[in-house]
Symmetry: C2
Subunit: 262 residues, 2 copies
């Protein structure tokens, strides 16, 4: 997403380092591919996502919502959402952290807190992504599949909301032009300025290669190794990035930038 070679950023400790943001996004690709491979072990298990299935005794709504809300509450107590890099799916019902805050100097503008598109990510993940990589069927293995969904959702959300850091770095790099477009409320102009097609193409090719590498059957047999059986289709992973992860990251970038001068 970020063409680190072409920019230079304010060097102070509190500024976003573009190299750092780029490295974090590249490392997150591994986490996302691992998490998708793990979820692909289970069939789609549609009942988990059915709001009216009544799968959890004494609880309204779907099993996955029950599981996510409760896990987020616990992780909030462990301090997860004290970090600017984390955004909850159900932020309205989170308890306070019980762990001493280690919050370092904030690198984002305070409006960053207002940018949270997890509702869209939730819908896209369940309705668009899952059916692409999880097999049809129901093995009843809900607790493990839900834990896998949680890992996928958190990794994807982290990636997409990293758009705030990307946007901040880009803003610092070319404040004048970004300021002009922000004041003009020029959404299309902002989207155009922050898009680097060559970088997006590279990201897609790289995640495809990561899915091939991490999803292959590793055996000690030198002949059968890497025989083209993947745990998740590498082209599907490239498509997830192309159609959803990259566009949603840019949406976060634009939403952040539009508030950047508030």
């Amino acid at each position: 997403m970020v063409k680190a070679e072409s920019v230079s950023v304010n060097d102070s400790a509190s500024a976003v380092s573009l190299d750092g943001v780029r490295d974090a996004l590249i490392r997150l690709e591994d986490t996302i591919v691992f998490s998708l491979i793990e979820r692909a072990q289970y069939p789609i298990n549609s009942a988990m996502y059915d709001e009216s299935a009544g799968l959890v005794a004494g609880q309204r709504g779907s099993l996955i919502k029950f599981f996510m809300k409760r896990t987020e509450a616990l992780q909030a107590e462990a301090g997860r959402y004290e970090s600017e890099e984390e955004n909850a799916f159900f932020p309205d019902c989170l308890p306070c952290s019980l762990v001493p805050s280690r919050r370092s100097t904030s690198v984002l503008h305070p409006v960053a807190k207002m940018v949270n598109i997890n509702k869209d990510i939730w819908d896209v993940y369940i309705n668009r992504l899952l059916p692409l990589f999880a097999a049809q069927g129901d093995d009843g293995n809900y607790a493990l599949a839900a834990a896998s969904d949680l890992t996928c959702l958190q990794a994807i959300s982290r990636r997409i909301h990293y758009g705030k850091f990307v946007a901040e770095a880009k803003f610092l790099d070319d404040s004048q032009e970004y300021t002009r477009l922000i004041r003009a409320r020029d959404r299309n102009g902002l989207m155009k300025l922050l898009t680097v097609e060559a970088v997006e193409k590279m990201v897609k090719l790289r995640v495809e290669k990561k899915a091939e590498t991490f999803g292959q059957e590793v055996t000690l047999d030198p002949i059968n190794n890497g025989s083209g059986n993947y745990k998740i289709d590498p082209l599907v992973v490239a498509r997830l990035y192309e159609e959803w992860l990259i566009p949603l990251t840019k949406e976060v970038e634009v939403e952040y930038l539009l508030r950047r001068l508030d």
Copy 2:
């Protein structure tokens, strides 16, 4: 661990399939290597494991225990421990499942429930394994590191307790000899009978190769790719299997077998 080629098992639906057990263990290697690579992103963060650090307001004990106990309670409600393949680290304080049981015919002897060596796994993981693959230091990123520990611990525990299924399959394959050794309470004889050194060697080599494959830096640069920078040292992963995962799995096998005729 299981030499599937050399055995033939009772074919009925309720019997353990050795091929199935072997495939599950091989697939679990990927999960374990992924989880170790993910945990290796964070430094060791020793304060998390310190029983007297008082890191969680209003709670006694370490942050990791707080996090594990609470997560296990939630996952128990989602039905995780209804499965014979899962063993809790803190089984004494688990709520009932709120999700309708999908329990199929049990394939293990009822004594399987009594075999749980998670206390040993906990100690080994925190005191022996973590220091081998997590860097020194403290980045305060406790909530994410704890979630990674949880994934590692659950995957390693699942692998080691799969020993029950291995043992059941081996027992069914050679009931006469196993029965003789069990009645004689011959621990050493059992350990010898269930050990296949050639298979253990193969497992170690394969997990080393998996750590190389999954932990490499995947880039689009054909020259720098796989340049020998690994996210976790492949030899350390082989050592984890050799010194702890394989021996503890066999310990579970022996413990299960010693109760198999009760």
